[in-house]
């Protein structure tokens, strides 16, 4: 896997990034921008806004590199969380402003979600796509809702009309399934 090989030098990369090295940044951008852009696009579902947000996100990452602690977690995970939080915040603030509101129906998120899932898979990750297809649909739906929709467990339970306990159990099971699928 392409990204896997780069993990070898992740500590070196982080060191360079802490020195605010321009080439290290370019490498970081080239390596991660498609994934982050894809996630942001998945959350906000608007090209223009996703592009603006991607800029904000990379500036944020650059300015907050000092707060990234390699002992607490993986770099890509940290970047993903920054991206998800930024995009979800933007989505929520858009929803609270009726004048900018495009989709008033919250269910539309999931309608688009399902449409989105039918799009052509990224050719770089065809193997992974096959793996994800093995994920049970009800579990996948929950992960997407929480991870890309920024739903809390309570919100997800309400959204899907399920008991909170079921949602929690299902999310845990979904993540473990995902873990096992990628491991094999």
């Amino acid at each position: 896997m392409k990204r896997q090989s780069s993990l070898i030098s992740e500590s070196v990369l982080i060191e360079r990034l802490h020195q605010h090295d321009q080439q290290a940044f370019q490498w970081l951008y080239d390596q991660y921008s498609p994934a982050l852009y894809g996630v942001v696009l998945r959350i906000v579902r608007d090209d223009d806004q996703a592009q603006d947000l991607l800029q904000d996100i990379f500036v944020k990452i650059w300015k907050n590199l000092e707060s990234y602690d390699a002992t607490k977690g993986r770099l890509f995970t940290w970047m993903l969380n920054v991206s998800r939080n930024t995009a979800i915040d933007a989505l929520r603030s858009r929803k609270t402003q009726p004048s900018n509101e495009i989709r008033t129906d919250e269910d539309s998120v999931h309608i688009v979600d399902r449409q989105h899932n039918t799009e052509q898979p990224n050719p770089d990750h065809i193997g992974l796509q096959d793996v994800v297809k093995q994920l049970r649909p009800d579990r996948k739906e929950l992960i997407d809702l929480v991870y890309f929709g920024g739903y809390t467990h309570e919100e997800a339970a309400e959204e899907l009309n399920l008991p909170l306990g079921t949602v929690k159990t299902r999310i845990r099971a979904a993540l473990h399934e995902l873990k096992q699928l990628f491991k094999s």
Partner: protein
Amino acid sequence: MNVAEYITSGILESYALGTVSDQERREVECLSSIYPDIRTEIDELSEALEKYALLQSVEPPAFIKNKILEQLEFPVSEPSIVRPMYPSEPLSGPTFRTTWLVAASVGLLLLAFSFFLFSRLRNNQESLASLRTTNETLQAESRQLTDWQKKQDQVTALLRQPGTRTLVLQGNDKAPKGEVLVFWNATSKQVVINASSLPQLGPDQQYQLWSLVDGKPIDAGVFDVAQSGRAVQQLNRSIARADAFAITVEKRGGSPAPTMSTLLAMQPVNS
């Protein structure tokens, strides 16, 4: 604390998905720094989500990169130091080549330098050899001069001794211009001559000095015509008595009896 129970409680999944409260997040991070098993579980969950996120990858428009770069400030960068970070690049290629180039250059330089040193060494050896020869020549001359000086000192000492007589032996018709000075001290029995004006002899001939005692000739030593600067030479015979001195030409090494036909000069002591 029961780590296994904590791992299966579901909190780590919530943490990985980012749905925990700030307090829960701090708790998880604290515990994961203490228990490696918790950290491993979080990493595995995160990695699964990373891979899931990678599936969403969409290439952003190219202009965004430049727009971001415009907004960022970079300190003076050092590109050459960063390069080795790229894992996909064939790092060993150029480095290997450069190493060889440097090694070869150093080798050539060393070779040239060795050659320079070698030629210097040879020059020095040559100069040393010629200096040694000169030195030996000078030493030999110095030794000769010292010897000569000793002899001269002895001669001078003899001449200054009381009782030394000086005789002038005039050459006869065989050596009309010949004149030999004989210095003789009867007490010390030493004889010294100054024979600079006699004609040169063949290589197999020498002059011989005789002392005449009661009409009998006694060998007083052989000598060559003195070279320039060697006018005075001491003869290695002890002469205690002499009525007269005579000089003949004899074969090299001298004769037991004088050849009368070659008599050159004769002078009585008490004339």
